[in-house]
Amino acid sequence: MSEKVKEPLFSKKNKKLITDPLSENNPVTVQVLGICSALAITVSIEQAVVMSLSVLFVVATGNVVVSLMRNLIPDRIRIIVQLVAAASLVIIVNEVLKAYLPDMAEKLSVFVGLIITNCILMGRYEAFAMANKPWPSFLDGIGNSLGYGWILVVVSIFRELFGTGKLFGVQIMGDAVEGTGAYSVGYMNNNLIILAPFALFCVAIVIWVQRSINKNLIEH
């Protein structure tokens, strides 16, 4: 029996697990998953970052857990087992946020709990972790949640800046009441941008830009 060559931790294949979901196979813009949360919580960058980190924890840890158990899970209840893994990780995230970031937990409110309905989770658990070893599954989880995260952050930068004139909660467009900065030349905060429908336009613009750059993504 020939000795099996040990695959390096960051082999070309493993690196692809991280880079692929960032653009080529992005969960939000290409697979069009997890859109609901992208619409709901991208009003401020802070919220988008906390949400992305929460999803990162749930997807990466969940992928590892499901992958470790993949040979033990009975086929008939595999979706339930994946759901239990997702639900319990989401509860942990929610409890930790409530304890250490209470204001953020209040702002995100139900959306942290709703991470469980984020299709990216079940998609990764079922499609990847059930068939792969823990390390590649972990990388796959990281890659996909980063792919989700950067879209959220881009959308939220746009919405926070033009919707409220702030970035990371710091007023940078000048003072709307005093009429300084950009407001002195007639700029006004656009309230439509804060509302959920605009997030949809914003995601659509990201999709448009991405597909103009990468012609492979255009469906025929």
């Binding site: 033990l72 899970i73 009975p74 086929d75 008939r76 209840i77 339930i80 087992v81 239990v84 319990s88 509860i91 942990i92 409890e95 930790v96 409530k98 304890a99 250490y100 209470p102 204001d103 409110s109 139900v110």
Partner: protein, 237 residues
């Protein structure tokens, strides 16, 4: 020994083990974080009381400012008849009492917080009620005459953004600032109206598209204020 992964018995045993392990882990996390979450809740309560008094505060300085302005000795707990009962005002969880179905409404306790701001007395009354989708609550503060409203902040858990959720904006709460809670010592209801006559005494404008939430506010405010007015009228005599 090779298990048959798809047999009924294996599936059952696997499911039971999974539930036990996950249940234990979650219980451990929840219990471990409970003290920190409770501390956050206490600070939030102090912040809400201070905000109703018009004092700006953050999580960091809320406890300090609370100790500075709130006069612990004058904070009292009253019962539904307006009589003072034993107990510490801050420890009373009115949300819990309101939700407790085994507790008749007459047995509820009503905390009253007293503050001394630069020599002027102010009072804060917390209250809870029902909105359309979930609980709503408020802190209303009074001036030293125990009759004129100084500030009112409304909160909600799950009202519709843009509609019922508007009760938590200052635009809605500030309408109460011109109100009084009694007319010559007798309680008079504050109406939340639709016809735009909210600027008149004992009337405030409701929220467009948030009728049920507005009704909930009206019910909550009047049900609670009635008790406090009884207490204030006995105290003034």
């Amino acid at each position: 020994m090779k298990f048959d992964k798809n047999s009924n018995s294996y599936t059952f045993i696997f499911a039971i083990c999974l539930v036990v392990v996950v249940g234990a882990a979650l219980a451990a996390v929840a219990m471990g974080l409970k003290p920190i979450q409770d501390a956050n809740g206490t600070i939030k309560k102090k912040m809400d009381i201070l905000t109703a008094l018009g004092i700006e505060c953050t999580r960091a300085d809320a406890a300090e400012l609370y100790d500075k302005y709130i006069v612990e000795e004058e904070c009292v707990v009253i019962n539904s008849k307006g009589e003072i009962v034993e107990g510490s005002a801050f420890d009373i969880d009115i949300q819990k009492e309101f939700r407790d179905k085994n507790r008749p409404a007459e047995d509820r306790n009503y905390p009253l917080y007293a503050a001394d701001i630069d020599g002027e007395k102010r009072y804060v009354m917390p209250m809870v009620g029902k909105g359309l989708w979930g609980p709503i609550w408020a802190y209303i503060s009074l001036k030293s005459d125990m009759n004129s409203v100084y500030g009112a902040n409304f909160f909600h858990k799950s009202e519709t953004p843009g509609l019922g959720a508007e009760i938590s904006t200052s635009r809605f709460g500030d309408q109460f600032k011109t109100e009084t809670i009694s007319d010559n010592g007798t309680f008079k209801e504050i109406k939340v109206v639709k016809d735009g006559s909210g600027t008149q005494p004992f009337k405030v404008d409701g929220i467009t598209g948030g009728t049920i939430t507005s009704k909930g506010v009206e019910e909550m405010v009047n049900r609670t204020l009635q008790v406090y007015v009884t207490y204030f009228s006995t105290k003034k005599q």
